[in-house]
């Protein structure tokens, strides 16, 4: 681990200014991802600006929905009564990720900004375009069982590891950001993470020094019929092979609106727009769920070892929709 300067901060504006002033500085909050990356020599910031004491931990209802502080802990967020009542799928998603110990340290801003767990990204002795741009991708012709089937490029096929982000994508969340100029901006969740294209080193659209202050989720009628399904290689603490956030708004026995996002299949949380569109106005039947899943997964492109994700993805969409339709008892 490279030696670094540790800069405490008590105000968001000061923290932003400090990071902006040093191109090698990074924010640190829970540290559950960054510290690992620093230990292994993947990240080597010269300065860490500590934001863990900033007053950005509130979870409160707003006129338009709910606002979740970027520095609220994952466990506090998952177990907050408002979240449990209005967005139970978010609770399920957060609790399906990591371990209790990690969730107790990890913050919401850190969760959505966490980096991929592609093993080649972590293995510094091999090439990786995300770690060393232009060096080449070791996963495309390597062991890519848990890599993307959507949205990848010839530069990178790593998946985004966050469960929380999948639920937030389905719920049409947005991310509030404080910039170096003191101005705030709002990033729609679907625009927060990036596809790799030719610049896989950039996971998201935050500029250097920009600080996530809160995540907003708009009001919706999905709470009674939503479900987060995660399929991993292990029941405890493993990253998703495939996960599905499925939410239905039912009206008179018909699907008024469906929201589906997938994890483990793409470099960013993958909104299944084709499946959502297919389900609008249909009855919530297994047959329709299956056809919706087919409509989404037909665009998938498998790599050498991850072809199973297409069939698994279909089945996971069907099961998640089935459980969402059955309702949250």
């Amino acid at each position: 681990m490279r030696a670094f300067k540790f800069t405490p901060s008590s105000e968001p504006e000061a923290a932003v200014k400090a990071v902006k002033a040093n191109s090698e500085a990074k924010f640190i909050a829970g540290g559950t991802n960054l510290i690992d990356l620093m230990k292994e020599g993947i990240e080597g910031p010269s300065e860490l600006v500590d934001i863990s004491r900033l007053n950005l931990t509130q979870i409160r209802s707003t006129s338009t929905g709910i606002s979740i502080g970027s520095l609220a802990k994952n466990s506090d967020t998952a177990n907050h009564p408002l979240v449990r009542r209005d967005f139970p799928m978010l609770t399920q998603a957060i609790l399906s990720g990591a371990t209790a110990q990690i969730r107790n340290m990890a913050t919401n801003g850190g969760n959505i900004a966490q980096r991929t767990r592609c093993p080649y990204f972590y293995e510094v002795s091999v090439n990786c375009n995300k770690r060393r741009p232009g060096s080449g991708c070791s996963s495309l012709e390597g062991y890519n069982r848990n890599h993307s089937i959507f949205g990848f490029s010839d530069k990178c096929a790593a998946v985004n590891p966050s469960d929380m982000s999948v639920a937030l994508a389905a719920l049409d969340a947005s991310v509030n950001v404080l910039g170096a100029d003191g101005k705030t901006r709002v990033i729609k969740f679907n625009d927060f993470h990036r596809l790799p294209g030719d610049t896989p080193q950039r996971d998201n659209n935050l500029e250097h020094g920009e600080l996530i202050t809160s995540i907003e989720i708009p009001k919706s009628n999905f709470a009674p019929h939503s479900y987060y399904l995660k399929v991993g290689d292990r029941a405890s603490h493993s990253f998703a092979l495939v996960s599905v956030a499925a939410a239905l708004e039912l009206d008179g026995g018909k699907i008024k609106q469906a929201r589906i996002a997938m994890g483990g299949v793409a470099p960013k949380p993958w909104r299944a727009y084709a499946a959502e569109k297919f389900l609008a106005g249909k009855t919530p039947s297994e047959e329709n769920f299956s056809a919706a899943a087919d409509s989404e997964m037909k665009a998938a492109i498998p790599l050498e070892h991850n072809g199973f994700k297409i069939e698994l993805g279909k089945r996971a969409i069907v099961l998640a929709l089935k459980r969402a339709a059955a309702g949250n008892a």
Binding site: P119, V231, F308, L312, V318
Partner: protein
């Protein structure tokens, strides 16, 4: 009134437990050593190469760095010491990815770790053999052939009415104990002290002594507590040598701890096995032929194979059998003993094939097994000293509720889940090996305390406790009057905690020593006692306040005339998600005949641990080698999935009482290894019963059951 000293067999909590949960137990790197420096390993990024040069300039200039140990400045060694993984830093050559090529020594761990990134190694790559699946056809007979034959397998197999001919695959597994391997090396003149996590105290002592040309007595190994080992701490690995070399180089004690990532390339592994099993039976369900051919790999630096076919050779009394091995030397770290080596992976193949043949015969798999074993070991013609297979199958069937099982797969469904039941049996050889004990008795009035000293080790499994129980009961003292001192090479040499030899070797030795102490004291009193005297009475009558005696215990010759094994039966209830293929094991039953159980609680925990290992083997664990570079793609606990709380359901453990005085005087068979044997097959058989899908390629990840 005297407190109860009948403690053998009781469920007694570990006497070292309080120390551990309060942080008082010192593991290797916990020992406070003055002026200690920290080492960090630089690993090879090539699987085979000669090293043209190592540039340590930048690392040496980095803050806090004291020295960088490489092949250039490493002391020349006196011998190999049969070191697992080969002698280290003696030539500019690399035989596997991750091999240690340098150690940076600095004032702090972080300084050493950072400077390790600055060491530049210039490799001349050489052809490397790292793709087992592509080259397994080139595997050859092992140097030490371990195959066996009886009858005429080929003729019997060809002639048989019913047969199974299948190949079963298991991946590379890593031990990954929770405590990574670590060493503190301290030189005082030509004497070396090693605080080093070890399963075999004297084994490490002798190996390191040979490497440095020292007398074993000049190597002091201290390892009072070990945080798991599972075979990986059974031998000395190169990092132990590196710590001692580095300490010599910088003339300071050096602490060297492997990272979790280092653990995949530093301390052995369980190799990938391709097992071709052929079974044949007559229409009435009598096995006529067993063939078991294993193709596996070892390292280019040495040969180690696990005996996957051993269980097939002795479990069933088919008249014809053929067991064979082929091995491919590869540029990977050398494999080593891994929990129930051979039996655990071998039983997956054998017991899956037995299940397949039972289906072929339309026989209940319990009935099929009962029909095909005998009380004589068919591999050597010796009688089993005891064998609880039938009792374990019967009891286990009751415990799991076997009558709920339907022979027809996919018969039981609950909501989104397909439910199935499976069974598999297992065994592991029981042995006592030479082990010495010193007992020291002290008396103050009627109060006697005993100290037991032996260079045994405790992996967290209960050695301290069973030794204390044995001594307490034999001496007629309460448990709290017995102090146990182990994990130190200054104590009398002992067996290791390996191969299920620990309990039998330690406890028989402790028992013999305590009996000898009483006999010697009685002789000293010169009296004939009507009622059996207490140790306090004996010491008083002999006019002694202190007394000590030592026994070098040996196994009996009688035991050699028999085959002795612990036998078990496993039953699994498995739920498979019909949509996602995810497998869960809500209930597993393990019934074991393991002779005398010294401690009902620690033995139960050992079996549960074995079952959890079996769940990992069946469902979640696999190390993946990248055939381009020979590195493990799975390189942390994130990628290498050991089962955790949600993956482990209820595990019900029962023991079949046995009084086997042939295996050893106390009748102990050992429980460390047998617990895992048969578990993976039991789960895979249950998954077939649930889904109708036979997975012969572990682990049973969701993609294989879609």
């Amino acid at each position: 009134m005297a407190r109860d000293t009948k403690v053998i067999g009781e469920a007694i909590s570990r006497i070292d437990g309080l120390l551990k949960v309060t942080g008082g137990a010192n593991y290797s790197t916990d020992f406070p050593v003055k002026n200690v420096a920290y080492g960090f390993i630089v690993k090879s990024s090539n699987a085979a190469a000669s090293i043209k040069d190592i540039d340590t300039t930048a690392a040496e200039k980095s803050p806090g760095v004291i020295a960088v140990l490489t092949y250039k400045n490493a002391p020349k060694v006196a011998g190999s010491g049969n070191l697992s993984g080969g002698v280290i830093l003696q030539e500019p050559k690399v035989d596997f990815y991750g091999q240690h090529v340098a150690v940076v020594v600095a004032d702090t761990y972080e300084q050493a770790r950072y400077a390790a990134e600055l060491v530049k190694v210039n490799y001349e790559p050489l052809p490397a053999m790292v793709d087992f699946d592509a080259h397994k056809g080139e595997a050859v007979e092992p140097q030490r052939g371990r195959g066996s034959k009886r009858g005429d397998f080929d003729a019997a197999f060809v002639a048989a009415e019913h047969k199974v001919d299948q190949t079963y695959l298991t991946p590379v597994y890593h031990h990954q104990p929770l405590e990574p391997h670590s060493t503190i090396a301290v030189w005082e003149g030509s004497k070396l002290t090693l605080y080093n996590a070890s399963q075999v105290v004297n084994g490490v002592q002798n190996a390191i002594a040979a490497v440095f040309g020292l007398k074993p007595a000049d190597v002091h190994v201290v390892t009072p507590h070990v945080g798991g080992g599972f075979g990986s701490k059974g031998s000395a690995w190169p990092h132990v040598v590196l710590a001692a070399m580095a300490a010599k180089l910088v003339n300071r004690p050096v602490k060297l701890a492997l990272t979790r990532q280092n653990m995949f390339n530093s301390v052995g592994l369980r190799q990938r096995n391709v097992q071709h099993v052929r079974l044949a039976a007559s229409a009435d369900g009598k096995l006529t032929a067993i063939g078991h051919d294993t193709t596996t790999h070892t390292a280019v630096t040495g040969e180690f194979i696990e005996q996957c076919g051993h269980l097939s050779s002795m479990m069933y009394d088919a008249p014809n059998a053929s067991i064979g091995y082929r091995v491919l030397p590869m540029n990977v770290i050398i494999p080593t003993f891994t929990r129930a080596p051979g039996e655990s992976t071998g039983s997956f193949a054998t017991e899956s094939a037995i299940d397949e043949l039972a289906y072929e015969l339309k026989m209940d798999p319990i009935e099929f097994r009962l029909k095909n074993f005998s009380m004589t070991d068919p591999s050597n013609g010796r009688p089993f000293s005891s064998r609880a297979t039938a009792e374990a199958l019967k009891k286990g069937a009751e415990m799991i509720g076997w009558t709920k099982r339907k022979m027809q797969p996919r018969s039981i469904r609950n909501g989104d889940f397909l439910i199935g039941y499976g069974v598999a049996i297992g065994s592991y050889p029981s042995r006592q090996v030479p082990s010495s004990t010193l007992v020291k008795l002290k008396r103050a009035g009627n109060d006697v305390t005993a100290t037991i000293e032996t260079a045994a080790s405790d992996l967290g499994t209960g050695t301290y406790t069973i030794v204390a129980q044995t001594a307490a009961e034999t001496l007629g003292l309460p448990m709290d009057k017995v102090e146990v001192k182990i994990g130190d090479s200054e104590f009398p040499p002992a067996a290791g905690s390996v191969g299920s030899i620990g309990a039998a070797s330690f406890c028989n030795s402790v028992s013999e020593t305590c009996i000898q102490a009483k006999n010697e004291l009685q002789a000293k009193t010169g009296r004939t006692w009507v009622a059996p005297p207490t140790v306090a009475q004996l010491m008083e009558a002999a006019n002694l306040n202190e007394y000590q005696t030592r026994v070098d215990a040996r196994p009996s010759a009688e035991a050699q005339k028999y085959s002795s094994h612990a036998f078990n039966a496993n039953f699994s209830e498995v739920w498979v998600n019909a949509y996602t293929g995810a497998v869960r094991v809500p209930r597993h039953v393990a019934v074991t005949g393991a002779g005398k159980i010294i401690n009902a609680k620690t033995a139960r925990s050992q079996i549960i641990g074995g079952c959890i290992w079996g769940i990992g083997m069946a469902l979640t664990e696999a190390s993946i080698l990248d055939p381009r570079w020979g590195n493990f793609v799975t390189r942390t606990y994130n990628d290498y999935h050991i089962p955790a709380n949600l993956d482990v359901g209820t595990i019900d453990v029962a023991f079949i009482p046995e009084d086997d005085r042939v295996v050893n005087r106390l009748g102990i068979k050992g429980v460390g290894e047998v617990g895992i044997v048969g578990v993976a097959a039991s789960i895979a058989n249950a998954a077939f019963n649930a889904t109708g899908k036979r997975v012969r390629d572990l682990p049973l990840t969701p993609d294989k059951l879609l």
